[in-house]
């Protein structure tokens, strides 16, 4: 038997041995390795990291970092605001929100909070700062302009005026 053949059989034997390790060692190791790569889900989906929280009467509003579209992505830049917990929200929410943290309100956001968690949501956004775009009776037409209920929060994404 040639050295190449010996190496071939050794590699084949190691492959069969590696098979035994897949469910007990390799799968977990590769899964943890992938999770540890420091990757993040595109902010168009995740909404970007939370930067600030505003306390309101019994509930809070989380403000996320503004998200900009990449290259040919057909979405507008937006900022995401989360109202939570849903159970503490009044039947009708109408809040002035200081999005950029300069002490001045930037937008007025109003929406109804139906008791049925599957009921469709609609939002109105009145801009008090030209950086933000108005929304009139908007549901969830696209990632950069919507109101949705996710778990125990109501998320509103307000499109930013294009520079």
């Amino acid at each position: 038997m040639t050295t190449r053949a010996k190496l071939g059989y050794t590699a084949a034997g190691l492959t069969v041995f590696a098979t035994l390790l897949v469910p007990f060692v390799l799968y977990g190791a590769f899964t943890k390795g992938f999770a540890g790569l420091g990757l993040h889900v595109d902010e168009m989906y995740s909404g970007g990291p939370k930067v600030r929280t505003i306390q309101a009467a019994g509930y809070s509003i989380d403000i996320h970092r503004p998200v900009s579209p990449h290259m040919l992505q057909h979405e507008k830049p937006f900022v995401q605001l989360d109202w939570r917990p849903v159970g503490a929200l009044p039947p009708h929410v109408s809040d002035l929100v200081d999005v950029d943290g300069d002490g001045q309100p930037d937008i007025r956001v109003s929406f109804d909070v139906p008791k049925d968690p599957k009921a469709p949501l609609r939002v109105n956004v009145e801009p008090l700062n030209p950086r933000y775009q108005a929304m009139r009776n908007v549901g969830k037409p696209q990632f950069s302009e919507l109101i949705v209920r996710v778990d125990d929060a109501i998320l509103v994404r307000v499109p930013l005026a294009q520079q």
Binding site: G8, A18, F30, L39, D42, K140
Partner: protein, 387 residues
């Protein structure tokens, strides 16, 4: 394949005792795997036992008859048919629809399969961003099967079986393989060999589109299997067009063309993941060779290959193309035993059964671990109706 089997001379059978002995490691592995998935639910128990017996019996027949393809096909078709049953049941139970609502995407609960993996590599490498609305956490996603879990299982299994993934793990390919096995003869026999480049073209376009549009372009526009798994919720005209494309591609590539050609047409002409996975045929230690000293050549191997991975030129060279997914169809079809399993570095046709056994132990163990659990889940879903 039924006609093909009629053409072949009967193979001498391995003795029952020896076949049982060779099956013993797989039986132990099955007990280990299905014991791992054991649940107090009675339908789950029946599904696990049935699947374990099914997988052990198929392996026993592979050992007894020295044939691979025809027995592997039973597993693969069962996997292809039962995956949608379990999956659709799961998504409907969790969210009430096969459509992915935008809320689930934002929450990172979009189920992730392996097909978009090659399309996500460039954005991940260049911007550290995953352009898929799922979860990266090991136990994230819709049911704990997030992107990390799928990437982990894909990496581990690819290390072991390489492109064999497409024959022993892919939970979509079985549908078209089942369709291809329905008619006794192919109605369309002449296929332009240039169609073989289709998967590479789709892969290239989808990789560039995913990078430019920052979205999983294949999942959004071209995946035929959205028709039997989940689809973009048709919120607007674009969504309706996308869903129309999915259904059209599924009806053409997965149903109609396999029925007409007896080939796995989606895999052979379209699947970008299959093209990407072909690269791992270069790193895998197992391959299939043609022993030139025995080859007549009758080209039965070429005719039997479901993915057109054998050409006149490759047969002359004694090789399969890199798209070979090690299904074993050519080896089973060859009346001269010239098509053989092979371990790289060893001489061709010297102890090919040893190479076959080593490959099959690895591939079948993975099939039981991954595909077996999916088959059991599908069976359990059906059993729930009755129990």
């Amino acid at each position: 394949m039924a006609t093909q089997d009629k053409r072949l001379p009967p193979q001498p059978l391995r003795s029952v005792g020896r076949s049982l002995l060779l099956t013993l490691p797989i039986a132990v592995w099955s007990l280990l795997m299905f014991g791992h998935f054991w649940q107090p639910d009675r339908s789950a128990q029946i599904a696990s036992v049935t699947t374990a017996v099914f997988m052990i019996a198929l392996f026993f027949m592979m050992m007894r008859t020295s044939r691979t393809y025809r027995w592997r096909r039973w597993f693969f078709v069962a996997l292809g048919l039962l995956f949608p049953v379990g999956f659709i049941h799961q998504v409907i139970a969790m969210r009430g629809t096969m459509g992915i609502p935008i809320e689930e995407m934002i929450a990172g609960r979009t189920p992730f399969c392996y097909i978009p993996i090659p399309m996500l590599i460039l954005p991940a490498a260049l911007m550290k961003t995953v352009v898929f609305p799922g979860s990266i956490r090991p136990h994230g996603g819709m049911s704990g099967g997030g992107m990390a879990a799928m990437a982990g299982i894909w990496l581990a299994m690819t290390l072991v079986i390489g492109k064999g993934w497409c024959s022993y793990a892919c939970f979509f390919g079985g549908i078209e393989e089942g369709m291809a096995s329905v008619p006794p003869k192919a109605k369309v026999r002449k296929i332009d060999p240039r169609w073989r480049y289709g998967p590479w073209a789709v892969l290239l376009v989808m990789v560039l589109m995913s990078l430019a549009l920052f979205e999983p372009a294949y999942c959004m526009w071209l995946c035929p299997f959205k028709a039997v798994s989940e689809y973009v919720a048709a919120r607007n005209t674009v969504g309706t067009v996308q869903n129309g494309i999915f259904v059209l591609l599924f009806a053409t590539l997965v149903i109609a063309l396999p029925l007409l050609t007896k080939k796995r047409t989606q895999c052979a002409f379209f699947c970008p993941f299959g093209a990407f996975q072909s690269i791992f045929n270069k790193t895998s230690i197992f391959d299939v060779k043609i022993d030139r000293s025995r080859c007549t050549p009758c080209v039965l191997c070429q005719k039997s290959c479901p993915t057109l991975s054998l050409t006149d030129e490759s047969i002359v060279k004694g090789e399969t193309l890199m798209s070979c997914m090690k299904c074993g169809a050519c080896v089973d079809a060859c009346p001269k035993d010239a098509a053989v399993w092979h371990i790289k570095g060893t001489e061709v046709a010297v102890k090919p059964e040893r190479a076959r056994l080593m490959f099959l132990y690895a591939a079948w163990a993975m099939a039981i671990m991954f595909g077996g659990s999916i088959i059991a889940e599908g069976l359990q879903t059906i059993l729930h109706v009755f129990i």
